[in-house]
């Protein structure tokens, strides 16, 4: 029956694919708990994502060693800001990473303190300056201490602190 020959060819191909499939598809691949439409996956994949290391440790972690700075900053309006937002993510500090790099750039402060008088956003309520005109080129921390930002004794601009 020569008319059936293409059929045998197709069946053979299907068989080959089915055999190959058992080698290629991982054993734990299947329908997960979320069902046929959204659940197909390797059952071991969530473990990969769970196993990723935590890098942002949070202020309570910093507090364990840097209590003085934590306490001082805790009394300032900047207490809402995580230490690691400015000091860099702690990650493996103090073990594998002995020192963190503090971001002292003007642009870091201007993230909140560039004055944008937006009427319908909390941004408009934050006291700020125009970064383009306010003591350009001078590090903010020369005058405003980040952990105690209210202006006390004002060192002369450009002078030694």
């Amino acid at each position: 029956m020569h008319v059936l020959r293409p059929l045998w060819a197709v069946l053979a191909l299907v068989l080959v694919i089915l055999v190959l499939r058992t080698f290629v598809v991982p054993e734990d691949f299947g329908i997960g708990e979320r069902g046929y439409m959204y659940g197909w996956h390797r059952a071991s994949d969530p473990q990969y994502w769970q196993g990723i290391s935590v890098k942002l440790r949070g202020r309570e972690y910093c507090k364990q060693c840097h209590l003085a700075q934590f306490t001082q900053n805790g009394e300032s309006p900047h207490r809402i800001i995580q230490c690691e937002n400015c000091h860099g993510l702690a990650g493996q500090h103090p073990g594998a990473v002995p020192k963190l790099t503090v971001d002292r750039s003007r642009d870091l402060c201007l993230r909140c303190h560039e004055r944008l008088a937006y009427p319908s956003s909390q941004r408009g309520e934050i006291r700020g300056v125009s970064g383009a005109t306010h003591n350009q080129g001078v590090e903010c921390a020369k005058c405003h201490k980040p952990h105690k930002p209210t202006l006390g004794e004002k060192p002369p601009i450009g002078g030694k602190t």
């Binding site: 991982p26 691949f29 997960g32 708990e33 979320r34 069902g35 439409m37 959204y38 659940g39 197909w40 996956h41 390797r42 994949d45 969530p46 990969y48 994502w49 769970q50 196993g51 990723i52 290391s53 935590v54 890098k55 942002l56 949070g58 809402i80 800001i81 995580q82 690691e84 937002n85 993510l89 642009d107 201007l110 993230r111 909140c112 560039e114 004055r115 944008l116 008088a117 937006y118 009427p119 319908s120 956003s121 909390q122 941004r123 408009g124 934050i126 125009s130 970064g131």
Partner: protein, 261 residues
Amino acid sequence: MSSRRHFLKALAQGAATLAVSSTVGGSLASETATGAAEKGHKVRWGFLVDTQKCTGCGFCVKACKLENEVPYDANVTRTWVERYVEMEDGTVHADSPRGGRDGFVDPRVDLGRGSFQDIDPSRISKAFFVPKLCNQCENPPCVQVCPVGATYQNADGVVLVDRSWCIGCGYCIMACPYGVRFFHPVYHTAEKCNFCYHRITKGLKPACVEACPFEARLIGNLLDPADPVNRIIQTQRVNVLKEEYGTKPQVYYIGLSQEVR
């Protein structure tokens, strides 16, 4: 004459049967969607963004990129912050330079390619910031289109991508109505926000939530009636993005405005 009547009758019956079967199908689908609690699942992660509180500092984007090792200077990010400035004459300016990674330190609106739109602050009628991230949809279109089963929804509602199984076809990137997916410059696989899965499964908050100084970003368990974030979602006026797509997003917004797309 009678044959036409029979034909119309048969047509009507057929349509009725179709309608019934599709309703049954629909109710089954929603059962699988809402039946998570009955199956004994304890967690369905949901997110709450308060756009009234967001100041556009961009610490969330910075923390996300560092925490999840998305190359810092590549112009891709799992979460980003958009700025909307509406003028008195009704024109809306929107920008998100570098996804808001460095905050919004310029009163001018970034038009891209180095050009900026000057804004007259006295003519602003409203201006605000909107953080965006993966909505972990109940009906995720990105998962439906994956031809190899490399992206999937976990039992706790989080949509994950299998980096070793993804073939990089990019269907999911095109299917997402919210544009949250991109190719990871290092792994060359589809990448997206997963609510910092490595953190939430350890009892920590996602990096963006932790880094936000203004509590504009919150995460909670939608299956726990006592969860404070779930309480807000249940009892206050919240909205979701692009509801008309039927994706059932699980990132809820306070203070969403019609300009936001």
